[in-house]
């Protein structure tokens, strides 16, 4: 029903086509991307009651939501929280006016959900990560340690780094999914990586 490129190439080409172009040309490209955005079409379909369209959005955006949550909450909790975020999005999608802004809107829901999680955890008592969910596959010790260091970085860096290093998304993909400007993502990636190298005690490459 909807022609959406699974690997996001067609969509990302539109979104990142403005790089290196004059501002006017870039904004025109952004407008075109918005008009032609497959996300907008999917969102409109969901508003019309098409559940398959929402499943498609879930397929496209689940890695982004997973990465955003993983940058903030324990690994064992992320799976359930991803489900929560998509349920909230499904219930509130009728209030979203601009379908092309779905990614940024969903990212905001995920960040808010992570904050809610910590608020509730403070009200009760937060269990250690390995005790909280013994059934979930515990990350390797080194991976957990690196993830802990990434979580210690400022918000903008840790989210971008998790999406790049854990979820395997490229910079342009991150920009397209989260609604952030590609230049901001590029800066965050490089500065974040520099900080991470410093914290891990690895020398700066070149």
């Amino acid at each position: 029903m909807f022609e959406v490129d699974t690997n996001g190439d067609g969509h990302l080409l539109l979104m990142s086509g403005g790089q290196g172009q004059p501002l006017a040309a870039r904004s025109a490209a952004t407008e075109t991307a918005r008009e032609c955005s497959p996300d907008a079409a999917l969102v409109e379909a969901v508003k019309g009651g098409d559940r398959d369209a929402f499943a498609r959005l879930h397929q496209l955006y689940a890695p982004m939501v997973h990465g955003i949550l993983l940058a903030r909450v324990p690994y064992g909790e992320v799976g359930d929280l991803v489900q929560d975020v998509f349920l909230v999005a499904f219930k509130k999608v009728h209030g979203l006016r601009d379908g092309a802004a779905f990614g940024g809107w969903l990212a905001m829901i995920a960040r808010n959900r992570a904050m809610d999680f910590h608020r509730r955890a403070r009200e009760t008592e937060e269990l250690p990560e390995d005790v909280a969910r013994p059934a979930a596959a515990a990350p390797q010790a080194e991976a957990a340690e690196v993830l802990g260091v990434i979580r210690g970085l400022p918000d903008a860096y840790r989210e971008t780094l998790v999406l790049r290093l854990v979820e395997g998304m490229t910079g342009p993909e991150i920009a397209a999914r989260t609604g952030l400007h590609p230049d901001s993502v590029r800066v965050n990636l490089h500065r974040g990586m520099k900080l991470l190298r410093a914290k891990l005690g690895v020398g700066e490459k070149r």
């Binding site: 559940r51 879930h58 009728h94 080194e142 991976a143 290093l165 854990v166 990636l189 070149r206």
Partner: protein, 206 residues
């Protein structure tokens, strides 16, 4: 700075590759999205309002009925109190001025003050006994109509009542003085007839 971190192009960065391999297992594992049932699909806001409007209508009707009830109750109370005052004033006409000696003050004479005692909880029983019985709604309506015509009368009536009260009080005083004179004269006469009587103690009789 390599492009590998940005879009995985160019010469691979060994450190980034190592981190990707280390953190890769934490990546999002596709999971089936559990959406609410078809009948629980989110309805657009307009539909939600349409779904809720019968409940809103019932709530509005209940509130309206309550307000009307309270308003009518207040109106009836004010009618009843005004009718009570009017009834008392009708049932206590100004007393005719008599020139002869008056009978001792009976309980029915107290009602002259009833106008000032209306509404007080400590009003004497005699005044309560003389207050009119509870009126029906029709009687209240008639009383209300009559009240307008009676409004001019009370001023003159009050003046007459005050004059009558003062006259009565003066006569009572005269009667009391007369009674004291008579009693004093009789006492003197008795003393003259029995000269030793004054020396006898009333307690012992000796």
């Amino acid at each position: 700075m390599s492009d590998y971190l940005w879009d995985k192009s160019g010469e691979p960065d060994a450190e980034v590759e190592r981190l990707e391999q280390l953190l890769g297992p934490l990546r999002h594992q596709p999971r089936e999205l559990q959406l609410p049932r078809e009948d629980e699909s989110p309805a657009p806001p307009a539909a939600r309002f349409l779904f809720r409007w019968p409940a809103l209508a019932v709530a509005a009707a209940l509130i309206l009925m309550t307000l009307v009830g309270v308003w009518r109750g207040l109106m009836n109370n004010s009618d009843a109190s005004s009718a009570e005052v009017a009834g008392v004033m009708r049932e206590t006409p100004p007393r005719p001025v008599s020139s002869g000696p008056t009978a001792p003050q009976g309980p029915d004479q107290v009602e002259i003050n009833v106008g000032s005692n209306v509404g007080r909880s400590d009003a004497p029983e005699s005044t309560l006994a003389t207050s009119p019985p509870r009126h029906t709604r029709k009687q209240h309506r008639r009383t209300r109509q009559h009240r307008l015509t009676e409004q001019a009368v009370p001023v003159n009536r009050e003046r007459q009542e005050i004059a009558a009260e003062m006259l009565e009080a003066r006569r009572a005083k005269e009667q009391l003085m007369l009674a004291l004179h008579v009693a004093s004269a009789k006492f003197n006469l008795a003393e003259r007839k029995a000269p030793g009587l004054a020396d006898v103690s009333p307690a012992t009789g000796q």
